[in-house]
Symmetry: C2
Subunit: 157 residues, 2 copies
């Protein structure tokens, strides 16, 4: 199992991570013109939604960042926890929007982030954690302990 | 576009749908020993979680049933709405746990339910709706307007 480079750390997203998170997400897809206010409002929303299970209440959204030795955001990802009726009213973790800054690749930050988010979801009682990825990233996620389960399909507005 | 058989209707899940929903979900996978109380608590949780976007607040979970002409639950499915930073702090609908009672197949209830849940998510502002399925169901979802997007992967506890 890889370890974070010296001085790097992993923590929950904060409102003050606006520039770092938006910049990092741009490697992934369209971010759009997200303002500081919209970002802060999204983080506030993520902080307030809870999921309840077996008498416990915990955060449903778990957005995280990895910061480098100067405190700059260099990777980001989220896992949210869904409550179902299936599997004894079980919980499922959904990993979303994993992005690593281009100049940070090769440091296993993606793998470390996936491990962290997966462990977080499983430790909170999820019976499984799922994610959707491009065909070309299957090998990477297999190294992170994931197996091919099915097909992701989408419909756009 | 197919239409519901005479006397059938589609509506949001209610607490009183315990037997019907649990029975219908059993065609899909393990439901487990879900008690009436656990079901009611899950429905209450689904009813209370909101997603906020552009000043509006709406239900994040949108569990639905189709009932037959006697009021019996014959199909069920859910779409929950996730809030992201990507795509201008956009919303994504996740379709989950679509199940149709075995003796009701051939009436296009699955397709009607998918259309209903997809339209609900898109009309509330989701820029896309996604779902994960088995390879063997790809053709069915293509008929519902979905396209193959990627690979679903999972990790179990």
């Amino acid at each position: 199992m890889p370890v974070l480079p010296s001085g790097y750390s992993i923590r929950r997203v904060e409102s003050s991570d606006y520039e770092g998170v938006v910049e990092t997400l741009k490697v992934l897809t369209v971010v759009g013109d997200v303002t500081k206010e919209q970002f802060e409002e999204t983080v506030a929303y993520w902080n307030e939604v809870t999921v309840k299970s077996k008498g416990e209440s915990m955060k449903a959204y778990n957005p995280h960042v990895i910061t480098d030795d100067s405190g700059k955001v260099v990777a980001t990802g989220n896992v949210f926890i869904e409550r179902k009726v299936l599997h004894d009213c079980g919980l499922v973790g959904h990993i979303e929007d994993i992005a690593v800054a281009k100049n940070q690749q090769g440091k296993k930050l993606g793998q470390l982030l996936i491990e962290h988010l997966s462990d977080l979801a499983l430790s909170r009682g999820c019976y499984k954690v799922i994610l959707d990825c491009d065909e070309k990233n299957v090998g990477f996620y297999q190294k992170c302990g994931y197996s091919i389960k099915g097909v992701e399909m989408d419909r756009r507005s």
